[in-house]
């Protein structure tokens, strides 16, 4: 079993085509949609967490690339520098997946890496440059 996070970029012409369901049907992969930005006639972005057999996962990604979808691994390389963070929490409402949360009692801001989809909005939104991203 493998569990990976990927960012899929759909070119305009593929946005209205049924593609992702094939991962389930042909490759037996399970997925969870972490983020989706799909608009008709525009490029679409889908962030998936995919579970399944390692070999089938690789085949599935190959299939996507063959159809014209750009596949990018979502290496979870967003990190928080606790020395730079001042626990203000201005990042909290910016995060689309609640990966940045505040402890109600201490007002300490915590970064929950497992929830992060590496969209990068916190990186530009943090005034103290405490968040960084590496692909």
């Amino acid at each position: 079993m493998t569990k990976r996070r990927v960012v899929l970029h759909f070119p305009k012409e593929l946005v209205d085509k049924p593609i992702v369901y094939r991962l389930v049907k042909d490759f037996g992969l399970e997925f969870n949609i972490l983020k989706a930005e799909v608009n008709p006639k525009e490029e679409g972005v889908l962030v998936l967490e995919i579970r399944g057999n390692e070999e089938e996962f690789l085949k599935g990604m190959e299939f996507l690339e063959d159809t014209g979808v750009k596949v990018q691994p979502l290496s979870q390389d967003v990190s928080m520098d606790k020395d730079k963070c001042v626990d203000c929490g201005v990042c909290i409402p910016l995060c689309p997946t609640q990966a940045l949360v505040r402890d109600e009692a201490s007002f300490k801001v915590e970064f929950i890496k497992e929830r992060c989809i590496a969209c990068g909005i916190c990186v530009s939104g943090c005034p103290y440059k405490a968040m960084s991203i590496k692909f």
């Binding site: 001042v86 626990d87 203000c88 929490g89 201005v90 409402p93 910016l94 801001v109 005034p127 103290y128």
Partner: protein, 402 residues
């Protein structure tokens, strides 16, 4: 009734009862106002957040031969400083930028480095490159100077906040359909988030709404050392509408603060890069409030559900200078993480660090408890709600023959 002299006597003996503005609430609930006013000597307040109207002035000493910086051009790590004084005094503002910074030409600009970062680095003891070009005189023959400078070699280095400790502030939202980048942070479209910037219950001037104990000369915690209230801050606006308990419903009083930069810590002075807006400096401030009587106590006992902030649309009302608001929300609601605007639930973000403000309130509490910090009596009051003193907009006048 107590006097500051009596409180200082107790501080000197190590007997003073000192609590933070958050802790006082439970004490007064348990013991009642009368007993609490007798028991508690000092309540500490604090704030930590970006304040662009911060700066430093410093004296670099005279090189041999001498140079007159006044009237010349000076940069520090390529960030412009203001040299319009005598030969070797300089002022550096928190929002100053290097000349080559692209600003918002590539929108939104990143503003990675500027005055605020430079002030932080100076305090951290880093060497900075000073470059000056100027004109020569008979007594100041040099026209060019390039040298490292370090805080330990400066004659004086002083933090001067033209404005800080805003008594209440706007909650910023964006009612437009596109993202905007403001000094209140990144604001998502269609009321996607609401950003506020005060430490609520700990906010110094919200605990002394009529400035009955805080005035010119009040000794404070400033970025890790003792500083003073130098004057009222710019844009001081005490005559705004207030609640029954005297809490201003709009941005109101402000303070100008001063202190020795050489004794400060970068833990409490942080350079800030505000995406699409500019650079700034976050400053940690703590102010003690002597509980002289029951009236002063009543002010520090106002709860966060009795403090309100106006919600302002930063996509239209604010930039256009219109006085429209979308309503009021309480600090209790803001701090819960969600507020309701026009029947929509909006997540809130805070630009001030409540956690750091708590740390400051506790440090100041301990300084006083340990007898290291005596309270000072203001030498003059700040203009208060009955002064008629107002923050005016600029009256633009057409320049003739332009």
């Amino acid at each position: 009734m107590k006097t500051i002299e009596e409180i200082n006597e107790r501080i000197g003996k190590g007997e003073a009862v000192v609590v933070t503005a958050e802790e006082i609430l439970d004490i007064v609930k348990e013991k009642g106002a009368k007993k609490t006013a007798q028991l508690v000597d000092v309540v500490t307040t604090a704030t930590f957040g970006p304040m662009c109207s911060s700066g430093i002035y410093f004296n670099i000493g005279h090189p041999k031969p001498r140079i007159k910086l006044g009237g010349g051009k000076v940069t520090l790590n390529k960030v412009s400083c203001y040299p319009g004084f005598a030969a070797s005094d300089l002022f550096l503002g928190a929002s100053s930028l290097p000349e080559e910074d692209p600003r918002n030409q590539i929108y939104p600009g990143e503003f990675r480095y500027g005055g605020g970062h430079l002030i932080q680095e100076l305090v951290e003891g880093k060497d900075l490159i000073l470059e000056a070009t100027t004109y020569d005189t008979d007594c100041y023959p040099r026209k060019y100077l390039k040298t490292y400078i370090n805080i330990k070699d400066l004659n004086e280095a002083v933090l001067f906040n033209l404005r800080n400790c805003y008594q209440n502030y706007n909650v910023a939202v964006n009612a437009s359909s596109h993202v905007i980048y403001t000094y209140m942070g990144v604001l998502k479209p269609n009321l996607g988030n609401a950003n506020y910037s005060t430490c609520g219950k700990l906010n110094p001037l919200l605990n002394d709404p009529y400035y009955k104990t805080i005035g010119i000369g009040t000794k404070i915690f400033l970025a890790g050392t003792c500083g003073f209230v130098a004057w009222w801050g710019t844009q001081h606006n005490p005559c705004v509408e207030r609640t029954e308990k005297g809490i201003p419903k709009f941005p109101a009083g402000t303070l100008a603060l001063i202190g020795n930069l050489k004794e400060m810590s970068s833990h409490w002075l942080r350079g800030v890069s505000i995406y699409g807006y500019g650079v700034s400096l976050s400053v940690g401030v703590g102010i003690p409030i002597p509980i002289l009587n029951e009236e002063i106590l009543s002010y520090v006992c106002v709860d966060e559900n009795e403090m309100f902030s106006p919600v302002v649309d930063y996509s239209s009302a604010y930039p256009q200078g219109k006085e429209e608001i979308l309503g009021f929300v309480s600090y209790a609601e803001l701090k819960s993480g969600r507020i309701k605007i026009a029947n929509k639930e909006v997540p809130t973000g805070c630009l001030s660090s409540i956690k750091k403000a708590r740390e400051i309130a506790n440090i100041l509490k301990n300084w006083i408890k340990e007898g290291k910090f005596l309270l000072s009596k203001p030498v003059a009051p700040l203009p208060s709600a009955d002064s008629g003193y107002r923050f005016k907009p600029l009256k633009e006048r057409k320049v003739e023959n332009d």
